[in-house]
C-alpha cells in the first residue's frame, strides 16, 4: 500500500467514524421518533459497509505498525 493512499484512507476512516458518531448522537436526540430512528439505521448501515472498504485496510496497517520495533 502506497503511503499516499494509506494517508487518504486514514482521513476517510476518520470521516466514517465521525458519521457514525453523528448518527448515534442524532438517534439519541430523536429517540422515540420513527423518522429519526429509521433513517439513522440506514446511515449506520452505510457506515458499516464503508468500514469494509476503507477502515479495515487502515486497521491492519495500524496493527502492523504497532508490532514493528
Amino acid at each position: 500500500m502506497r503511503e499516499v493512499d494509506l494517508e487518504r484512507l486514514k482521513s476517510m476512516k476518520a470521516e466514517i467514524d465521525a458519521i457514525e458518531q453523528h448518527a448515534l448522537a442524532l438517534a439519541s436526540l430523536g429517540e422515540g421518533v420513527p423518522a429519526i430512528e429509521k433513517n439513522v439505521r440506514n446511515v449506520l448501515s452505510a457506515a458499516y459497509v464503508l468500514k469494509f472498504g476503507v477502515s479495515d485496510i487502515v486497521d491492519i496497517h495500524k496493527a502492523d505498525a504497532a508490532t514493528k520495533p
Binding site: 448501515s45 472498504g53 485496510i57
Partner: protein, 443 residues
Amino acid sequence: MGPRDRKYWNPYLETLSRDEILAIQLNRFRDLLGYAKTHSVFYRDRYRDIDPAHIKTIEDIRKLPLIDKMDLRKAQDGKEPFPFGEILGVPPEEVSLFRQTSGTTGKPVYVSESWESWQWRVEVWCHILWMAGFRETDRVFVPFGYNVYVAFWEGHCAAEKLGCMVVPGGALDTKGRINKIIEVKATGLLNTPTYGLHMAEEAEKMGLKPSELGVKRMMCAGEPLPHATRKKLEAAWGAEVYDHIGGTEPCAWAAMCGQRNGLHIMEPFFLVEFLDLKDQTREVEKGELGIAVVTPLGRRSFPLIRFNTNDVVKKSGDGCACGRTSVMIDEVSGRADDLRKIRGVLFTPVSVEELVRAEFPEVVEYEIVVKKRGVMDEISLRVEPSGEVSQSGLKDMAKRLSERLKIRTNLTFLIDVAEPGALPRYTLKAKRFRDLRGEGGTA
C-alpha cells in the same frame, strides 16, 4: 474521467496484497465469530469452548466444524424465533427482509436480512456489476418475476445503487419482455442463462435479431454457466455475458471481471476455502476440483461460519490481467449433490451442457434422465431440435450426439428426439437432470 474509465468499484480494496487480504479476513472472522457466539443461539451452543481471540491463522479456522444446509434446517425446524430459529443473529424486529431457498433438496431454509446485512449484500453486488462493466449510464432490464427467492433482488438493488436506470420485468410474458427491452432501449440484462437463450429464440420467432436490440452486457444468475453456453449467449445477443456464483444463504461470493476468464472470489468480504471432494478435510491445490466452503464476513443477521455450499469448483491462483488480486476459480462444475455414479462412472450434468451448447447449435432444449433397467443404470438424453432440421439431419444429429457423449462422459446415452416445443422452458433453476433410480424409475 468518464464512468467507463473508472475500472474499480473500490481501487484500494481490489488491489490489496495477499497478506493484507488475509489480515482483514482474519480480523473479520474473529469479529464474526465473537458476534455470532453472543447473538445466535446456534453458534453459542456450537462454539461454546472456542475463544475467537485464539483464531490467529487459517489453520486455526480449519479446526472449526463445517455447517451445511441440514444444520440450518435443524436450527430452524420448530425453533424460536419463528421462522428463522436459532441461527438468527439479530432481534426479530430488526429483520427487514425475508428470503428463502428453493427447497429443491428438502425443506426450504428461511434467510433473515437486517437492513445492515442487506446493504452489505448489495455492496458485494455493486462490486460484481461494476466488474462486469455496468455503469450509471446503463439501462438495466430484469426479465424475471422476483419473489421470495433472493434471485435478482440483489442485482436490482445494486444496479440502483450504481445509478443505473433499472426496469423490473416481472409480470410480463417473454414477448412482452422483448418488447420492453426495445421500448426502454435496455443496455444491460440480468437473467438466468436458460432464459437468456429462450428470449433469444423467441426474439427470432418475432422476426428480430437479438444481437441488434442494443444489449451490451448480461449478468447471469441461478444456474451454472458453462463456457460454451456463455459463448452461445454472447453470439446470440452480441453482448458481453458474465457469470457469478452464490446462493441464498452465503450471498454471491465470486464473479467474472472484464477478462471473462475465471471468477474472482469477492475477497475480503468472504473467506472461501476449497476442500477436497472426498471428505472436505484438505484444501485442494490450484487446478484441482474442490467444494467451496464460504464464510460471509459481514453478514450478522444470518451468520454463516464455514458453510459448505456443495458447489464444486476448480481452484485457480490469484492475480488477473484486470489488476485485481483476489483468488480466482477457473470454472463452476456444478453441485456436489448433482455428481452421480452411473455404471461406476462419475458423471456431472454440466459436461452434457458444455457439449450440447458447444457442438450442437441445432439443439434448443434438452433433458437427461437416469433410470434402472433391471439392475443396470440407463442414461438417456432427450433433445429438442429447432424446427429447421430435416429428418435425415435429425438422424445424423442423434448419431453424432451419441458418439460425442460417449467420448466426453464415457457413458452410452440413449438419444430421444422430441418434437419442437415439447420440453419445458425455465426462468430460474432449469431442471434438466432427473435421476429416477431411487424412485422406482425403471425402464
